[in-house]
Subunit: 136 residues, 6 copies
């Protein structure tokens, strides 16, 4: 009787896509306008999904207030109103694509949530582009 519970949070950040191993032409060819050297930005919508059995005493799989606080403390407080490339430790050398941001967030939260619960990250970069990790 496993149930999935999800909490949606958001953060607004600037980023730039590029691969430092490539020259400018190659970066421009691959990443196009996302490669703007002065950065652009997004309102990221972040959904954290936790799967497990509800506690018979509370009826909760996970207290949504606790999950919201956890996301704010460990994720959105670090990323909100930041330049992902310059202001965070995670994307100094890692390209901040939606895929990579989702994996970074999963790694951060995986340590904070008891291993008996499954964890999934969904990240909307725009209303029309989003990613999910892991895929199942």
């Amino acid at each position: 009787m496993k149930i999935r519970v999800s909490r949606k949070e958001h953060f607004n950040a600037a980023h730039r896509l590029f691969n430092p191993a490539w020259n400018d032409d190659k970066n421009q060819q691959v990443f196009g306008k996302c490669n703007n050297p002065n950065y652009h930005g997004h309102n990221y919508e972040l959904i954290i999904t936790v799967t497990g059995e509800p506690d018979p005493e509370t009826g909760y799989v996970y207290d949504m207030k606790v999950l919201s606080d956890l996301i704010k403390e460990h994720v959105t407080n670090k990323f909100d109103h930041k330049n992902l490339n310059l202001d965070t430790e995670y994307f100094k050398t890692l390209n901040p694509t939606a895929e990579n941001i989702a994996v970074v967030i999963w790694n951060i939260l995986r340590e904070k949530i008891t291993p008996s619960l499954d964890l999934k990250v969904t990240l909307y970069e725009t209303e029309r582009n989003y990613v999910e990790y892991p895929a199942h």
Copy 2:
């Protein structure tokens, strides 16, 4: 060639979270403002998902009009504009968390839909909090 088809309905209800086996302090500590003795409420968005093979004569897995009527007759007519704790048989002794409401709705509809079709319930308590049962 299995396909999932989903129908979204909604109901507006009052509820209160608490565990009658606990004293007031413990209930307040665990459920916080959701434990308000005079109740609060939500616009619940309910998505019912049915999975199966489309009928070759109709091209339907399930007629969405029939599914909508089924949800209204057996679920939303019972829950809409009600106090879940006081006005429904289901939550007299069961805590009406989103998790428990989703399981109750699944149990109600599972009897009404032919067993060869899989059934899943998604319930949004708010735009930012939602649950899915079963988890897969």
Copy 3:
């Protein structure tokens, strides 16, 4: 060069519509399922709109962070996870229709915002029902 700036907040509350001057039959006839004596509830979406000229030094008509804090302190902290009829001073004798809730919120905030700025309240009771006060 007047500009309108708007901030969206939300609160979840229970309420019951009825007129204490009427008998039960009349209340049921007029308010239907909204008259449920055990209450029902909604996720209210609240938009506060302030109109004025932007400050030339900040480029702001009103700092949205300040407006958000003001709405939380004076409105949503009082109404969120409450029973509007029982738990608030405003609806002890006033019927908590969306119209009346909007006027109450306008009166609360009108005192907190400098008179040179126009004020408007938009309140969504559901995704499909909403009110605006004042009308212009």
Copy 4:
């Protein structure tokens, strides 16, 4: 380390549901108002989901700009502002239910996307009715 990436596009089309093997009464009985001989229409929201491992050089599972162009070239340019029954090759004899449209779109795109990547189609016929293919 598989990730799912999704791109949302849309098209507006007319259609009529009916089975040419049935007489008018039977079609009316099964398909109701969707059987209107003069057609009705929808704003279809289409989500294409591709699953695979991100390329270590780009951080992309699939370039969303390339995916968007692929969907436009092979799907929405053929279906947008069209009568699905009369103007497309796909629904001359196949009933254009949401289920069948999703399978047709999956078949079109499956040939254009490298087989090592999983493909899924989600199609919203209305805000409240949608289908997913394949089901897993």
Copy 5:
């Protein structure tokens, strides 16, 4: 103390834009893909706004249930799952642009709502295109 109250309904319809006084080339040049002779379609979202003073006994400007029924009886039952050009009396000779549909709906409802209340129609043809009548 005037308040605006709004109710959102929807209908799904097919239509074709053209001017019968023009030849095919001119129609194609002006209306482009909206001129498809076999029609295309939309999920129309319709918002009806009524402005007046709330009744002191009910706290309502207009009972939203009554307004919803009025819209269904006189508007959406006539337009939903129809071909606007072929199946309705209103667009036999009038081009069914969003502008003209909004004016037609306003004229229908203006007769049904007491003249002391202002009436406004907002019509979304797509999520990104909408019209409002009257303009003030």
Copy 6:
């Protein structure tokens, strides 16, 4: 018989709020996290509203395809995937608050749309913060 027609477009951009006449402490105090020297960003949703009488031959106040192209050519192509402070001529010395961005966009488009038509700009910086210019 004036009608308002609206077209929604979007752009993703980085920006930083600050007043160069102030020192760092004052900028930090007034603009808080929006003052991050490395920028942050948003998905801006832009609605352009044009008001006038519909052309009796077309039934259009303004061709939405033409309006969309105009917005793309003169606004979103200049702002999308840009750093508003560094990459645009408009915000070299003007603080890119939502208020100021809306006025800049209005000034750009006012020259491109015939003076007999009224023009209004609505700009969502986030789902919960938006501005409208002019205010009426």
